[in-house]
């Protein structure tokens, strides 16, 4: 148990790094994701097609491979990103690929009648999107956005492979020092469990609150 006391602080520090990276990456990918979703729906063949291909590539390649391409692959062309930038860049690129689909589905879930009503009022496309469509899409998207958030937290486990000092990194360090993998990975599991269960709890509270407005 002495080991737990010794390494718990390191795990908590790692959790801080994970959360920081997740927060930045999710914030950026939500903003870019909305724009890209609008581009995919209204952007015509070329832009829409390009975004579709991007989404397919992000969804078709294993996360670990994407990360390695950014960190190791680019070094072949003398582009040497720091661990942190490579990790963050990957989380953003990956996140955008997922966020586009979430927002597209949300926007398309709003009925045609709503769009027609907005058109009939003379709203511009941006107005209709901001005032009519996104507020309604929000409710539809909330569960998938929460799943997305949890997915990104889980994705940070890969970042130790490029040398970012996250939870996994600390747990592996601790394992090699103590030769007690059961305790170290158990602690890592508990840390992730706390983070992700808290996030889903917040998500379901939000959903319930949103439901009240309807």
């Amino acid at each position: 148990m002495h080991v737990v006391a010794l390494y718990w602080q390191a795990i908590v520090d790692g959790g801080g790094v994970d959360l920081e990276l997740t927060a930045i990456a999710v914030a950026v990918s939500v903003v870019v994701g909305i724009l890209a979703a609008v581009g995919r729906i209204y952007g015509g063949k070329l832009l829409g097609g390009a975004i579709t291909v991007y989404v397919e590539i992000i969804r078709g390649l294993p996360p670990i491979l994407q990360l390695f391409i950014i960190y190791f692959g680019l070094s072949q062309f003398q582009i040497n990103l720091s661990s942190f930038s490579a990790g963050l860049l990957w989380l953003v690129l990956y996140g955008v690929g997922y966020a586009v689909e979430i927002f597209r589905a949300g926007i398309e879930a709003v009925s045609v009648g709503q769009r027609e009503a907005a058109d009939a009022l003379g709203l511009t496309r941006v107005q209709a999107l901001r005032r009519i469509i996104l507020p309604q899409a929000w409710m539809v998207m909330l569960p998938s956005l929460m799943t997305f958030l949890v997915l990104q937290v889980k994705n940070t486990t890969l970042l130790y492979l490029v040398g970012i000092a996250d939870i996994m990194y600390q747990a592996r360090l601790g394992t090699s020092a103590t030769e007690q993998p059961a305790i170290m990975y158990g602690m890592a599991a508990i840390a992730y469990l706390i983070i992700n269960l808290t996030l889903s709890r917040i998500g379901s509270t939000l959903e319930r609150r949103q439901a009240l407005y309807r």
Binding site: P63, I69, Q76, T157, T175
Partner: protein, 218 residues
């Protein structure tokens, strides 16, 4: 050496890695479907304690990253006396996680069947087994297919995690080749092409199958 020559040289190794990835996918899929079925039975069954255990299992295993499960299956279990080979540690970790997803997909598939269907089948005098087999399951399957196939393509990608415990799958081969050739981008791109070709192939086949099942029924 030119990129193409390098690719030609390493392709056999990559394909051998792909075979390992596919074996891993197959074994993990079988485990996940079996586990998912058990979870659904437990959660919809009448024994309260089993239902609570299944619900707890789903909550916990959905929240813990697969990589943590993988290290637990490989390193922690070994410390506790159960030494699994890397391949089987991968099967256990992936199966344990994807079982929760498949369980949820099956459950919502079952819930999507209109209660009137069960009622009509019961009114015909069908036994409970026949109501399930002939009426409920065929319809639940249709609702299960889209999320189920989506989960499968995620499972294939997640097998790449076993690189971290030294299983010689496609990702492992790519990483080894990247280190040996000092041309990491070329090697990872080749791996990407193989993964992507397989992803496209599989998603097209599965989509066609889904469409066929749907079309046969309308």
């Amino acid at each position: 050496m030119s990129t193409l020559q390098l690719w030609g040289q390493y392709l056999p190794q990559f394909l051998a890695g792909l075979v390992v990835s596919l074996q891993l996918t197959g074994a993990a899929l079988v485990l996940a479907l079996a586990l998912g079925t058990l979870l659904v039975l437990a959660r919809t069954g009448r024994i309260r304690i089993l239902a609570a255990i299944a619900t707890g299992y789903v909550e916990v295993f959905r929240a813990v990253p697969v990589l943590v499960l993988l290290f637990t299956a490989y390193y922690s279990l070994a410390q506790l006396g159960l030494r699994l080979p890397g391949f089987w540690a991968g099967v256990v970790a992936l199966g344990a996680f994807y079982g929760t997803l498949y369980g949820e997909d099956m459950r919502s598939g079952l819930q999507s069947v209109d209660p009137g269907q069960r009622e009509a089948a019961v009114a015909l005098g069908l036994s409970n087994g026949a109501v399930m087999r002939r009426v409920v399951l065929p319809q639940a399957f249709l609702a299960f297919l889209p999320p189920g196939t989506n989960e499968l393509s995620n499972l294939i990608k997640d097998t790449s995690l076993v690189l971290t415990i030294g299983v010689t799958d496609l990702m492992f081969q790519a990483n080894a080749a990247a280190a040996a050739t000092f041309q990491p981008m070329d090697m990872f791109l080749l791996a990407g092409l193989v993964y992507f070709a397989f992803y496209i192939l599989l998603s097209r086949i599965l989509a066609r199958w889904e469409l066929n099942v749907q079309r046969r029924r309308s």
